[in-house]
């Protein structure tokens, strides 16, 4: 290992400003790029809008099934041949189906770059979807659905989605059910693949050791021949979120609880104010109010948290904990109290300053690997945060006043809108 590889590669205007380039290929694909010569790796992060929210009720789980099938061979290569070629070239490729999009990561070693991008192109454009492999992957998904049923935290998460999102299709299990998986055939997968992997929906971020000219050609090789559809896939707003509480009984010594509350879309102008409020409430690890009051002071839980689940069109706040059956309602009450407190009294000046300092300081941690840089480039584009986001971010944070944050908090937080999904055997109040 020679120090030669560790040439300083980032040129910071301010410490948080990442210098990237907006590039366009000859086939018209736009993407963001950071050249990083310090390590012989190229990382690509990409996403296609849509995801499992496009699954129909009868064929629920198709998005997850399709992404699970992506490394099961191409029209030219069997599943084993493909996997061995990927190993041979040090190439990594994975797809994951989210609610609102399909995410993918591709990485390769610089010396194997051409072969790896050729393979990537073949996988993305010409998946095999062999009947035998479809059945194999279906069996794997079905056994994982069964395993989920005996894991109280996964079960709680599925039950929470089912009831909290109510009429919205986010209530469905993204893995589908035994019945819905059986309704999906090869033709469905081929159609779904065409529908989702299209240019309009595509967002790409790249970081690593490759020059501009070559990366443009590689991006065209992989994504250049995808279809162009007019239909842009959008997620419905959450109009019918559940409130109150619901219990699912299952025999267990500890109960798993998830809670939800309305939030904000990612590109809402008040998003950062809410992000700061949530950091103080339950997002900030060892610093949050939920952690300090429920774990540190009372010792009721090992972990308690809240996070923002924000999409392009809408968002929610989700949180959770596990506690012994006898202390379920005491803990639920503590969460409700924190909600009341932040709604009525807002946050303090010190809390605001600490949270701002955290968000200003933590951003550079994204710059330590090529994959985390590529992901960051992808996400900023996906949520349309703007070309100048890397410069603007600090200004957005620093300009937030205590009044502003507390105004957003008092408008949004409402204890009556909280929903608790309780999975286990809670003892009566």
């Amino acid at each position: 290992m020679k120090l030669l590889f560790f040439i300083l590669i980032f040129y910071f205007q301010s410490i948080n400003a990442l210098e990237y380039k907006k590039l366009q290929t000859s086939k018209g694909i736009k993407f963001w790029f950071v050249q990083d010569k310090s390590i012989p790796i190229v990382s690509v992060s990409f996403s296609f809008g849509g995801g499992s929210s496009l699954d129909s009720k009868e064929k629920n789980g198709i998005s997850n099934l399709m992404t699970s099938m992506m490394d099961e061979g191409t029209t030219n290569l069997t599943s084993n041949e493909l996997k061995n070629l990927m190993k041979e070239n040090g190439m990594k490729l994975n797809f994951s189906s989210q609610r609102d999009r399909i995410n993918g990561n591709f990485q390769t070693i610089s010396s194997q770059i051409l072969k790896s991008f050729e393979l990537f192109s073949e996988v993305l454009n010409h998946p095999k979807f062999d009947e035998k492999d479809i059945n194999k992957i279906k069996r794997q998904i079905i056994s994982s659905i069964k395993i989920d049923e005996s894991d109280i935290s996964t079960l709680a998460s599925n039950k929470f989605n089912q009831f909290f999102f109510d009429q919205h299709n986010f209530s469905e299990n993204t893995k589908g059910s035994i019945k819905s998986l059986n309704n999906i055939n090869r033709e469905d997968l081929i159609k779904f693949h065409k529908k989702v992997f299209q240019k309009q929906n595509l967002i790409i971020g790249v970081a690593g050791n490759v020059n501009e000219k070559n990366i443009k050609e590689f991006i065209d090789l992989v994504f250049g021949d995808l279809n162009n559809y007019d239909e842009i896939l959008k997620i419905k707003k959450f109009e019918t979120l559940a409130k109150g509480e619901r219990i699912h009984k299952i025999k267990t010594p500890q109960t798993s609880v998830l809670f939800g509350h309305p939030g904000l879309a990612r590109n809402n102008e008040n998003f950062f104010a809410l992000r700061i409020a949530n950091y103080i409430l339950g997002g900030g690890g060892f610093q949050s109010r939920l952690y300090k009051n429920i774990r540190e002071k009372k010792g009721l839980v090992y972990s308690v948290y809240s996070y923002l689940l924000s999409f392009e069109s809408d968002g929610v706040i989700v949180g959770g904990f596990q506690t012994r059956n006898k202390s379920v309602y005491e803990t639920v009450e503590s969460v409700k109290n924190e909600w009341k407190k932040i709604q009525k009294k807002g946050i303090t000046k010190t809390e605001l300053e600490n949270a701002k300092a955290y968000y200003n300081g933590s951003f550079t941690r994204n710059f330590t690997s090529t994959l985390s840089i590529a992901r960051l480039l992808q996400i900023v584009q996906y949520y349309k945060l703007g070309d100048n986001y890397f410069q603007e971010r600090e200004k957005i944070i620093n300009s937030l006043s205590l009044e502003k944050v507390n105004q957003v908090v008092s408008n949004l937080f409402d204890g009556k809108k909280l929903f608790f999904m309780i999975v286990g055997e809670p003892e009566e109040k």
Binding site: K83, K87, S143, K146, T252, G299, A357, S369
Partner: protein, 437 residues
């Protein structure tokens, strides 16, 4: 589901395959026994600090299981100079992140943070080695948290209960058979005095390795570490008894029936050698296990999932980073319920076939290539090198062993791999388990 769990393995960097040092790590030992390791990487203005203590649950007295892990939680409770939440609060104000973990053989604490705050972070980590101010109330409240943790990880998870039981049979004498988190009834009886006694005895500079990785210079690191650690004196060395286990004479199948279980899961754990016993043999075993059972292109997966369609999933891995014995873990998820003996028989047949026919030079070369590529990926970040070096040194390997890893990797041939696989599969030191309804 498709992505089989990620397990930490030793991966090493060799960009050109001749005998270059892998990390170019710099090392210094201070008079009080503290070891400093620095991996310079100024790529982004971030540093990872990891302190590795060379003990974990292995030094707990009988009857006090869970004490090392308990202590790990309490290390966040503050000191006289930096009371209560000061450490974590300071760290989050600079945008850092932190955590800690306890294993059988080691306990580690780590943070990543902007490099301009390195001095304060070194001071804070040094401070809590000796100056914790714990109250009885801290200890009692944290005990409740730890019991909730045990309930979350084990008591409400039948699969973890099965693992716990299997390990206690496989390692009847050694501390590897005791859960790191501790048995419930023993955690309940741990006291303030137990904790303070443990802290004073073992948290000592000669039991620690401090690793700094990222935007930091060795000369500066040495200066700062000396400044904050040099007044910390080492405690009197405690003799740690090395325990080992007898060969198992009986064959053991354990079963856990639970009404919530909807899918049978079969497992088997073998005792195996560790890197501490032989690096080359362990690398050979690791490569062999990857060919046999790693991922979705392994010999076992191809036979049972692709061809025979008996299991929806089968896999396994080798974990050899241990002071004592390592272990090998197999699992299978049958499509229809099967007896343990039937699954074992199929697996044994196939392992024998793999050793005799299926493991080829081509497969080995491919796996070695992947090992090499993985080592390059391991350098794309700052925490990974700190983890690899810290873990290897605390279990007893030398820095030279790590830097020269690739020379050993290159020499592994097919016969060595086969020999290692044969060795563990031919002996009786394993336990089989099944989770079912």
């Amino acid at each position: 589901m498709k992505k089989v769990g990620f397990f930490l393995t030793l991966v090493f960097f060799c960009f050109e395959s001749e005998s270059k040092k892998i990390f170019n790590a710099k090392s210094h030992k201070f008079d009080n026994g503290l070891r400093l390791i620095v991996v310079e990487n100024p790529r982004a203005p971030i540093v990872a600090q990891m302190i590795w203590y060379n003990f974990g649950s292995n030094i707990e007295e009988r009857g006090k299981s869970g004490l090392a892990h308990f202590m790990e939680h309490l290390m966040f409770k503050g000191s006289k100079k930096f009371p209560e939440n000061y450490f974590s609060n300071f760290l989050s104000k600079i945008g850092g992140s932190e955590n800690a973990f306890t294993s059988y053989d080691y306990t580690a604490y780590y943070q990543t943070f902007p490099s301009n705050h390195i001095e304060k972070m070194i001071e804070l980590e040094a401070d809590r080695m000796k100056n914790l101010t714990l109250t009885k109330k801290n200890v009692e409240t944290e005990k409740k948290v730890i019991l909730e943790e045990r309930f979350q990880r084990v008591e409400s998870d039948p699969s973890s209960q099965l693992d716990e039981s299997m390990r206690s049979i496989l390692f009847p004498n050694n501390y590897y058979g005791r859960p790191i988190i501790g048995w419930k009834h023993e955690i309940e009886n741990l006291t303030y005095n137990d904790v303070m006694d443990f802290y004073k005895k073992f948290y000592s500079p000669d039991n620690a390795i401090l690793v700094l990785s990222g935007d930091v210079k060795f000369s500066n690191a040495k200066k700062l570490v000396r400044k904050y650690y040099e007044n910390i004196t080492k405690t009197k060395k405690k003799k740690i008894v090395d325990l080992s286990d007898p060969d198992l004479k009986t064959s053991t199948n354990v079963e856990l029936k639970h009404q919530n279980v909807k899918q049978q899961i079969w497992k088997r754990i073998h005792r195996a050698k560790s890197y501490n016993q032989s690096i080359s043999q362990s690398i050979a075993l690791d490569l062999g296990m990857k060919i046999l059972a790693g991922g979705t292109s392994s010999i076992l997966y191809d036979e049972f999932v692709n061809k025979q369609k008996i299991f929806s999933m089968i896999g396994g891995f080798y974990q050899g980073l241990a002071k004592g014995d390592g272990y090998i873990y197999f699992y299978a998820i049958p499509n229809k319920e099967m007896s343990q003996n039937e699954i074992s028989r199929l697996l044994d047949e196939q392992i024998e076939k793999a050793i005799n026919e299926k493991i080829s030079k081509k497969k080995l070369e491919l796996e070695k290539k992947k090992y090499y590529y993985d080592s390059i990926y391991g350098m794309d970040g700052i925490l990974k090198p700190a983890e690899i070096i810290g873990e290897a040194l605390t279990i007893g390997l030398k820095l030279r062993d790590i830097e020269d890893w690739n020379k050993k990797l290159e020499k592994i041939d097919l016969e060595m791999v086969k020999k290692e696989l044969k060795e563990f599969s031919d002996n009786n030191n394993f336990v089989t388990g099944s989770l079912k309804n």
